[in-house]
């Protein structure tokens, strides 16, 4: 019995060390389902799964505030918008039901070539085990900021001191997007 419990303990500690990899692979799998799904609603649902897995990845990288923001913005807002539009647009009535474009073989070849080129360029970084740097905080840097413990505070301090201009510009961009979306989606009275 004790042996069994220790095995379970080892198993969970092993999983705990590889949480990022697990959720990242889940995100990649659901992204692949997104691209190759036949039904658009299934695509939206796998998009939701991918976003939740990416939020979990953010959590394992110790950025709790961004994980919650990701859940709120993507799972709460954007997925619902996508679902609304998918249900608004009647996809079944189009005369051609091809899923993929005519240039699909060329596109696949180009993407594969890009992946291969990346692998070749970074072959030493990827396959040399000494190059895999563990992602730890250097203590002298993290002491002042305390990123791990007070994530929201440190992010907002960075945002409102060093990056105030981009932040304010973002508010203007959001306003423009709001007005633009209303103008585009409005029925024309002509």
């Amino acid at each position: 019995m004790d042996q069994f419990l220790s095995y379970i303990n080892q198993f969970f500690s092993y999983i705990g060390q590889h949480l990022f990899l697990i959720f990242g692979l889940l995100a990649v799998i659901s992204a692949a389902f997104l691209v190759f799904a036949k039904n658009a609603v299934h695509s939206v649902l796998t998009f939701l799964a991918a976003m939740i897995c990416i939020a979990a990845c953010y959590l394992t990288l110790q950025s709790e505030f961004l994980a919650v923001a990701q859940l709120l913005i993507y799972a709460g807002g954007i997925v619902v918008l996508f679902l609304f539009v998918v249900m608004l647009v009647e996809l079944s009535k189009f005369k051609e039901n091809r899923l993929f474009q005519k240039q699909t073989p060329y596109a696949v070849v180009i993407v594969m070539a890009g992946v291969g080129g990346f692998m070749w360029m970074f072959r030493r970084l990827i396959f040399d085990s000494s190059a895999s740097i563990p992602l730890t905080l250097s203590p002298e840097l993290s002491e002042g900021l305390n990123v791990a413990n007070q994530n929201a505070q440190s992010v907002s301090r960075g945002l409102f001191t060093g990056y105030l201009l981009p932040f304010e510009t973002m508010s203007v961009i959001l306003l423009i997007a709001l007005i633009g979306a209303i103008v585009l989606a409005k029925q024309s009275r002509a």
Binding site: A27, A31, A40, V44, S63, Q70, L81, P134, A181
Partner: protein, 100 residues
């Protein structure tokens, strides 16, 4: 312990799938979702390097990218709806007004 290579690999895979989806799918909605996927892959990298360097700049930028993604989705979906009203299609290869 998360190694840098794992993060880079995962984000690279997500980005490649996003590029593939944008290139091969006909449905404009799925193309928009794939663009979101690419933005998220970039976000993972930003957060990982923020953690690696111990500063918050990367996290602040990731937050800004999220806001930008929300704006982009609002505009993109409004475009799709307007297109569906005018041309009765959301398939991108049916929209060939500029084709010579």
């Amino acid at each position: 312990m998360v190694s840098m290579n794992t993060v880079l690999f995962i984000s690279f895979a997500l980005f490649s799938i996003g590029v593939l989806g944008v290139l091969i799918r006909r449905n404009a909605l799925i193309i928009l979702m794939c663009v979101e996927l690419m933005l998220n892959a970039a976000n993972i990298n930003l957060i990982a390097f923020a953690r690696h360097s111990g500063t918050v700049a990367g996290q602040a930028f990731a937050l800004l990218v999220m806001g930008l993604a929300a704006a982009e989705v609002a505009i993109g979906l409004a475009l799709v709806v307007a297109l569906y009203r005018k041309k009765d299609t959301v398939q991108v290869d049916d929209i060939n007004l500029l084709k010579g």
